[in-house]
Symmetry: C2
Subunit: 126 residues, 2 copies
């Protein structure tokens, strides 16, 4: 992973964004191995800082994330992973991990705004 | 900032997203003071890890970011700041800091997809 600058713990923050709805789903961390696996398998792999091990998103839940693109920022110390999620990103079952507001705004995080199109596509495919 | 869990360096990663186009602009870091100032002034303030000081985005360039909402994630260790940017987010002059792809995809990061609507609004307001 030539251009990426991992921090002193060997990690880089990875923003996961829905490629279609553009909703930010999760902030997680990758080490070099998980970024490599993400590129190779086209599914998201992270490094769990609490469990100190690789983590294949959706391995047990089935809620994998198909990787459409991996971008990096101007100082090469953050990545942006554009995905098509197979299910909720959050362990709470929510579509996005960012479901609460500090401003006390009552607007809920929208679900996938384009889910209806995916549903329609699946229905047509049947 | 009750619910936010700052790390051992007193920082939390802050994803900055355009509230209208939904493009992810920057990943930066906030300490408690910069988050407080962000909430109070409704403009983004960060903590520069290299310069070890507060940093008011756009203070010199004029490219401030009006804060629409500040969200936080399920484990309270990342924030998502939804903004209306007054200009480019990146020090390179690019609309977003995430302008390069690891996948070698040639698709450029789109500019603000809704800029034309802002321009139209300004024109009408004249």
């Amino acid at each position: 992973m030539k251009p990426i600058r991992f921090d002193k713990d060997g990690l880089v923050p990875a923003i996961v964004q829905d490629a279609n709805s553009k909703t930010v789903l999760t902030l997680a961390y990758m080490n070099e191995e998980s970024l490599q696996k993400t590129m190779e398998t086209k599914e998201t792999w992270f490094y769990s800082r609490s469990r100190q091990q690789l983590w294949h998103k959706g391995e047990t839940s089935g809620n994998t994330q198909h990787v459409v693109d991996v971008r990096y920022d101007c100082d090469q110390d953050a990545v942006l992973v554009l995905v098509e999620p197979k299910g909720p990103a959050c362990h709470t079952g929510a579509y996005s991990c960012f479901s609460q507001s500090l401003t006390g705004s009552t607007s809920k995080v929208e679900g996938d705004r384009f889910q209806i199109l995916n549903d329609l596509e699946e229905t047509i495919a049947k």
